[in-house]
């Protein structure tokens, strides 16, 4: 048996035991704080601490009671839709803008100050303004994610363009490539791994931001769901929400990483 594989399974389990012990400790000290077993029951169903039979949040994630009361699967789908909506918009605008900034010194001088100033602003600071403009939860959330995602995409795309070696451009010059041929045949192949790094960063931040954004906008979505469970005094569901948000984020990052590697020529044994 592979000793490394054993370590990879056993060591996290040891840490899990420590986490559950600490959690139980907190649950005993803080009044009404859900214990690990309460939380397990709340998630998968069973008999709770008041001897009531309950249906777990995860036992029926697909239920639809009404527009405002849907299973956790739909909450996550709603959040993902907003994340990918804003993310796609950021890609459509960010990649061409990044290419322009990377290729033209003038474009860089023109846009750089604004990127530097707006990049450190928490996207949530924009949210009230966007809510005022759109008067619509979905559009507000999507545009917040758009603002979140666009900076890493622009910056990494521009960086990718700038890392095109002078030698490759000389080859293009000798062959008299048109500007379009330069972009398609030289610049994009070099820049694509950088663009995907930017996308991966963007998606990770977008997933962080959507939870907070939905807490503010309300309606539907995993962020609002967590906040709603706080208002319902269902603290165990907050913990379930945190774990689910974490798992979905991990899944998103893994998929994005695989896609990024697929398009990265340096990761195919061709350095």
């Amino acid at each position: 048996m592979n000793i490394d594989l054993v370590k990879r399974i056993v060591l996290p389990l040891l840490v899990l035991i420590v986490i559950i012990q600490v959690w139980s400790g907190i649950a005993h000290t803080v009044e009404d704080f859900p214990t690990p077993s309460d939380t397990y029951v709340a998630a998968f169903g069973g008999i709770n601490e008041f001897d009531d039979e309950v249906v777990g949040v995860l036992s029926d994630p697909f239920y639809i009671e009404n527009v405002d009361d849907k299973g956790i699967f739909w909450q996550i789908m709603e959040s993902l839709k907003r994340v990918f909506g804003g993310f796609a918009l950021a890609l459509i605008i960010g990649v061409p803008l990044g290419l322009l900034i990377g290729m033209s010194k003038n474009a860089q001088y023109a846009f750089d100050p604004f990127i530097q100033i707006f990049k450190p602003v928490s996207p949530l600071a924009w949210l009230p303004l966007l809510l005022f403009i759109f008067q619509d939860i979905n559009l507000t959330a999507i545009s917040t994610i758009f603002i979140t995602s666009i900076w890493p995409i622009i910056i990494n795309t521009a960086l990718g363009v700038k890392s095109v070696s002078e030698d490759y451009m000389n080859v293009a010059k000798v062959l008299q490539f048109t500007p379009m041929e330069k972009v398609v045949q030289i610049i994009l192949p070099v820049a694509i791994p950088f663009i995907f790094t930017g996308m991966r960063l963007s998606l990770a931040i977008a997933w962080l931001v959507i939870v907070a954004a939905e807490m503010l906008t309300g309606g539907i979505g995993i962020g609002f769901w967590i906040w709603d469970e706080y208002n319902n005094l269902a603290y165990h569901n907050i913990i379930i929400g945190i774990i689910i948000v974490g798992l979905v984020g991990f899944l998103l990052d893994t998929i994005m990483g695989l896609i990024a590697n697929y398009f990265d020529y340096t990761k195919k044994g061709r350095a």
Binding site: V171, V174, L175, Q176, E181, I186, Y265, R270, A271
Partner: protein
């Protein structure tokens, strides 16, 4: 033979902020005949690469003119193919695709069968049939440079410009590539300009060796005619009086007349 490539009073200055311009090369006059193989040799900083870049059109001269077939050179073009020192192959394409990209661009009129035949021909010219589907990252330095040479030749240039083509290779690989180049040249008969700092390479490969003085204000110091029959054999040449004469002339130029002491 008629005037083919001519450089007249060529000078290159680089502006330095707050100071006088740096004059890299000045007063370069040179006539290169068709099918001639020329080496340009000199210490580092003598502006030999600058000179090559100006002929390639990648850099513009500040003064003077460079003409190919009576036409002024105004920019880079495929009739002046360049073999770069660091091969400059595109790492996301295979050897085959690197050459194909060049041929496709320069000869768009070729049918797909003709295109394929042409790419294959130049791959076999540098004996790389076995590596045609490999990416540059999977090839040795010498093989990469051979792909670079094949790519440059595949677009049927009038002049082949080589910027220290074998400078980054070990001496055995370098010798091997020099053999490749001489063998190819026997059949293709191109006009070739090679930038080098290797004396043996210059004598072995060229019809004339252009020796550059040290920069700034570098210019042509001496021109040496190499009167050796082709095909040339590296080992036999070691005792050939003409070979020895040429070698000594370059040695004396580089290490006595224009020795560089600060290196």
């Amino acid at each position: 033979m008629s005037e083919f490539l001519s450089l007249k009073n060529v000078e290159k200055r680089f502006p330095i902020s707050g100071k006088d311009d740096y004059v890299a090369v000045t007063d370069v006059n040179l006539e290169i005949k068709k099918n001639e193989i020329i080496s340009i040799i000199g210490h580092s900083g003598c502006g030999k690469s600058t000179l090559l870049n100006m002929i390639a059109g990648l850099d513009m001269q500040s003064e003077g003119s460079i003409e190919l077939n009576g036409k002024k050179i105004r920019g880079p073009g495929p009739e002046r193919a360049v073999v770069f020192q660091n091969h400059s192959l595109l790492p996301w394409l295979t050897s085959y695709q690197n050459i194909e990209m060049a041929v496709k661009k320069v000869m768009p009129e070729l049918s797909s069968i003709e295109l394929r035949a042409r790419v294959e021909k130049y791959i076999s010219m540098v004996n790389l049939e076995h590596a045609k589907d490999k990416a540059p990252g999977e090839l040795s330095g010498g093989m990469k440079q051979r792909v670079g040479i094949a790519r440059a030749l595949s677009i049927n240039p009038e002049v082949l410009l080589m910027d220290e083509p074998f400078g980054a290779l070990d001496s055995l690989t370098r010798a091997n590539l020099q053999e490749h180049l001489m063998r190819i040249q026997e059949s293709v008969k191109n006009t070739v300009i090679i930038i080098t700092h290797d004396i043996d390479e210059a004598v072995l490969l060229s019809d004339r060796v252009i020796m550059m003085t040290n920069g700034p204000d570098a210019t042509i110091g001496e021109i040496l005619e190499v009167n050796l029959e082709r095909p040339r054999k590296r080992v036999e040449l070691q005792h050939d009086p003409e070979y020895i004469r040429c070698r000594e002339a370059i040695l004396s130029f580089l290490y006595e007349k224009f020795a560089k002491e600060d290196e």
